[in-house]
C-alpha cells in the first residue's frame, strides 16, 4: 500500500501534522439567539407553550372574568372538536402530507351515525362501530390514492373533500336530526357532550377525549417503531424506504388512523352541537391546519411534537375568548389568528435553519 501512496503524489502527506480529530463535535459560541434557536430545535413544543402562557397572562390582565375556572373550561369545550381534528391532521402533516378532508369526513360520519340510529333503527353502538369503519375506509381511500396512484396529498384530499361533502348531503337528505330526537332515540351519541364539575370548572367528556387522543398519539409516535417511521417518512421518504421501512404501508395506515380519529371527532361533535347537522363545522378543516401550524409542526413533515397542535388549538381558543371578553370586534379574532399562523411558520423556518 505504501507503494500506491507514493504513486498518488503524496498529496495527503501534509495531513499527518494536521488536526486528527476529524469527527470532533466543535462547540461553537452561539450567542443568545443561537442558544434560543438550539433550545427550540431540541424542544419544539416550547414555542406554543410560551405563546399560550403569555397570551393567557395578557388576556387575564386585560379581560375581566377571563381567569375564571368557568371561562377557562369553556375554552376547552370550544376547542375540543377542532383539537381532535388537529390530532388527525398532525399525523398526516408529520408525513409531509396534508388532509383537507378531515372536517368533511367528520360531518359525514356524524350523519351516518345519526341516520343509522334514528332513521334505520340500528342499535346505536352498532351504528357507531359502522361509523368507525367508514372513517377508517375514508382514510384508506386517501392513503391508497396517495401511495398507489401517486397523487399529491393536497390534490387527493381536495378531491375526496368534495366527494365526502356530496355523500354527506346524500346520506343526510340535507336534513338536520334534532336534539330532542337524539335524546329520545340515541342518547349514546351525545355522551361526549355531557358535563361534569371539577372545582368550578365545567368539562365535557369531549375534552377528556381530546386529551386522551393526544396522550395516546404521543406514546405511539415517540415510543413505538411505527411512530419513528412516521417521522422518518416525513423527514425523507426515499431515505426511509432505503432504510427498509415499508413506506406505502405506513402511509396508508397513517391516513387510516387519521380517518378513525375523524370518526371519534364525529361522535364528539354530536355531543358538542347537540344535533346532527350536515352543514356544521364548515371551517373546521382550515382550523385544524391552523392549530397544527401554530402548534409548531412543520408543514414540510418530520418535525414537531404531537402535543403542539393541542396547545395550538387552545391558543386559538384563548385568543377568541380573550378578545371577545375584552369587547373587541370579532374581525380582530381572525386578524390575530392570521398573524399567529404567519409568525408560527416564520419561527419554524428559523429553527430549521439550524441544520445548514
Amino acid at each position: 500500500m505504501s507503494e500506491t501512496t507514493r504513486r498518488d503524489g503524496d498529496y495527503e502527506a501534509s495531513l499527518k501534522d494536521s488536526d486528527t480529530a476529524v469527527a470532533a463535535f466543535k462547540r461553537r459560541r452561539r450567542g443568545f439567539f443561537g442558544n434560543v434557536q438550539h433550545f427550540l430545535h431540541g424542544s419544539p413544543t416550547m414555542v406554543p407553550v410560551i405563546v399560550l402562557l403569555l397570551s393567557v397572562a395578557a388576556f387575564g390582565f386585560v379581560a375581566p372574568n377571563f381567569f375564571s375556572a368557568f371561562n377557562l373550561s369553556l375554552i376547552m369545550q370550544q376547542v375540543a372538536i377542532v383539537g381532535i381534528l388537529a390530532a388527525a391532521q398532525s399525523l398526516v402533516i408529520l408525513t409531509a402530507g396534508i388532509d383537507l378532508s378531515v372536517a368533511a369526513v367528520m360531518v359525514m360520519i356524524s350523519v351516518i351515525m345519526g341516520r343509522l340510529s334514528v332513521e334505520f333503527g340500528i342499535p346505536v353502538p352498532i351504528a357507531i362501530v359502522i361509523g368507525f369503519f367508514c372513517g377508517a375506509g375514508t382514510g384508506v381511500l386517501n392513503g391508497l390514492l396517495v401511495t398507489k396512484v401517486r397523487l399529491p396529498p393536497f390534490i387527493t384530499t381536495l378531491g375526496t373533500w368534495n366527494v365526502f361533502l356530496a355523500l354527506n348531503y346524500y346520506f343526510s337528505n340535507r336534513e338536520t336530526i334534532r336534539s330532542q330526537t337524539l335524546d329520545a332515540e340515541a342518547p349514546l351519541l351525545k355522551v361526549f357532550g355531557e358535563r361534569f364539575n371539577i372545582g368550578g370548572a365545567v368539562l365535557t367528556w369531549g375534552v377528556v377525549l381530546m386529551v386522551a387522543i393526544f396522550a395516546v398519539l404521543w406514546y405511539v409516535l415517540n415510543r413505538t417503531a411505527w411512530g419513528r417511521h412516521v417521522y422518518a417518512i416525513g423527514d425523507d421518504k426515499e431515505a426511509a424506504e432505503l432504510a427498509g421501512i415499508r413506506t406505502d404501508r405506513t402511509l396508508v395506515s397513517v391516513y387510516m388512523v387519521a380517518g378513525i380519529i375523524c370518526a371519534l371527532a364525529a361522535w364528539a361533535s354530536i355531543g358538542r352541537v347537540g344535533s346532527v347537522s350536515p352543514t356544521s363545522f364548515f371551517e373546521a378543516n382550515l382550523e385544524s391546519i391552523t392549530a397544527v401550524v401554530i402548534g409548531g409542526i412543520s408543514l414540510f413533515g418530520g418535525r414537531g411534537s404531537i402535543l403542539g397542535p393541542m396547545i395550538g388549538a387552545i391558543i386559538v381558543g384563548v385568543f377568541n375568548s380573550g378578545l371577545r371578553l375584552a369587547g373587541v370586534d370579532v374581525l380582530w379574532q381572525l386578524f390575530a389568528t392570521g398573524w399567529l399562523i404567519i409568525i408560527a411558520v416564520a419561527i419554524d423556518q428559523w429553527i430549521r435553519k439550524i441544520s445548514s
Binding site: 500500500m1 507503494e3 500506491t4 501512496t5 504513486r7 498518488d8 498529496y11 495527503e12 495531513l15 494536521s18 488536526d19 480529530a21 476529524v22 469527527a23 470532533a24 463535535f25 430545535h41 406514546y219 415510543r223 413505538t224 417503531a225 411505527w226 419513528r228 417511521h229 417521522y231 422518518a232 423527514d235 425523507d236 426515499e238 431515505a239 426511509a240 432505503l242 432504510a243 427498509g244 421501512i245 415499508r246 418530520g302 418535525r303 439550524i354 441544520s355
Partner: protein, 261 residues
C-alpha cells in the same frame, strides 16, 4: 482463483430500461475478506450493477449467488435480511431523527415482556447502548450524544454513522456507493480508515468510487466496468491509476500483466 468461492457473484446479468441496455451480460465476483473497488465511466452501468446486487433492481437475465446459492431479491429489504448492507450515496439517513433512531431505523428493538409485546414499546436504552458500542468500536465516539439529531452532524460524521450502521448489521457483504464523494480531504481520510477497519474484521466490501487515489489506496482488486459489462479486474499493485482510467474510458485494452490473480 477457482479454489476460493466468491461470497457474492453475478453471472451473465442483463438489465434493459426500455431500449437502453444498462447491463450487458456482466459478471461480478467478490471474494471473502477483500475490498473490491468498482470503477467505470459515467453511464458504464456500475450503479445498475450495484442495484442488482443490493436488491434495488431486478435483473432481466442472469443469476446472482450469495455464498454459492442462487438468490433473487425483489427489494432492498430482502437483500438486507440476507446480510447485504448498502450505504447509498445519499446516505439514507433521516436528518431529524437521532443517531440511535437512525441506526435502528426499520429494525427497532422492542422491550421484552408486556410493554414490548402488546404496547409495542421500544427499548430505547438497549438501542442507544448498542449504537454507542458500535460507534466507539469504529472510533467514532467523538460524537458526543447518541440522542442528537443527525442533521447536527458534519458530512464525515454522517457517513460514519451510515457505515457504522452497515457494519453493525451487515453479516456477509457491505456495499459502499461513493462514500467519499461529498467529503473534504480530512473527512475522506477518516472514512477510508473506517473502511479498512471494517475489512480488518473480515467483512468483504464493495466500494464504488470515482476517486482513483482512494480506490488505489484501499482496494485489493479493481473491477473495471465498461459498456455495461466487466472489462477486467486489475491488481492495484500491478497497474497505475492512468492505466485504470485508460481502461475504463477505452483508451487501452486490458493487458495480462495488470490483471489481478
Amino acid at each position: 482463483m477457482s479454489a476460493r468461492q466468491p461470497v457474492l457473484s453475478g453471472r451473465n446479468i442483463v438489465k434493459h430500461y426500455g431500449r437502453v441496455t444498462a447491463i450487458d451480460h456482466a459478471d461480478f465476483d467478490l471474494y471473502p475478506g477483500e475490498i473490491l473497488a468498482v470503477i467505470g465511466d459515467n453511464g458504464a452501468g456500475k450503479s445498475s450493477l450495484i442495484k442488482v446486487l443490493s436488491g434495488a433492481v431486478i435483473p432481466d437475465e442472469g443469476e446472482v449467488r450469495l455464498n454459492g446459492e442462487i438468490i433473487r431479491f425483489t427489494s432492498p429489504i430482502e437483500a438486507r435480511d440476507a446480510g447485504i448492507e448498502t450505504v447509498y450515496q445519499n446516505l439514507a439517513l433521516s436528518p431529524a431523527l437521532s443517531i440511535a433512531d437512525n441506526m435502528f431505523l426499520g429494525r427497532e428493538i422492542r422491550k421484552p415482556g408486556f410493554s414490548g409485546k402488546y404496547l409495542r414499546m421500544l427499548d430505547r436504552k438497549a438501542m442507544e447502548r448498542i449504537a454507542r458500542d458500535k460507534l466507539s468500536d469504529l472510533g467514532l465516539m467523538t460524537i458526543q450524544n447518541i440522542a442528537q439529531a443527525v442533521e447536527t452532524l458534519s458530512g464525515g460524521q454522517r457517513q460514519g454513522v451510515a457505515v457504522a450502521r452497515a457494519a453493525a448489521f451487515g453479516s456477509k457483504v457491505i456495499i459502499l456507493d461513493e462514500p467519499t464523494a461529498a467529503l473534504g480531504v480530512k473527512e475522506s481520510r477518516k472514512v477510508l480508515e473506517l473502511i479498512q477497519d471494517v475489512r480488518s474484521r473480515g467483512m468483504p466490501i464493495v466500494l464504488i468510487s470515482h476517486n482513483m487515489p482512494h480506490v488505489f489506496e484501499v482496494a485489493d482488486r479493481i473491477h473495471v466496468h465498461r459498456l455495461g459489462k466487466r472489462l477486467c479486474v486489475v491488481d492495484p499493485k500491478m497497474a497505475s491509476m492512468s492505466d485504470a482510467v485508460a481502461l475504463m474510458t477505452g483508451a487501452k485494452q486490458p493487458e495480462a500483466s495488470m490483471m489481478a490473480a
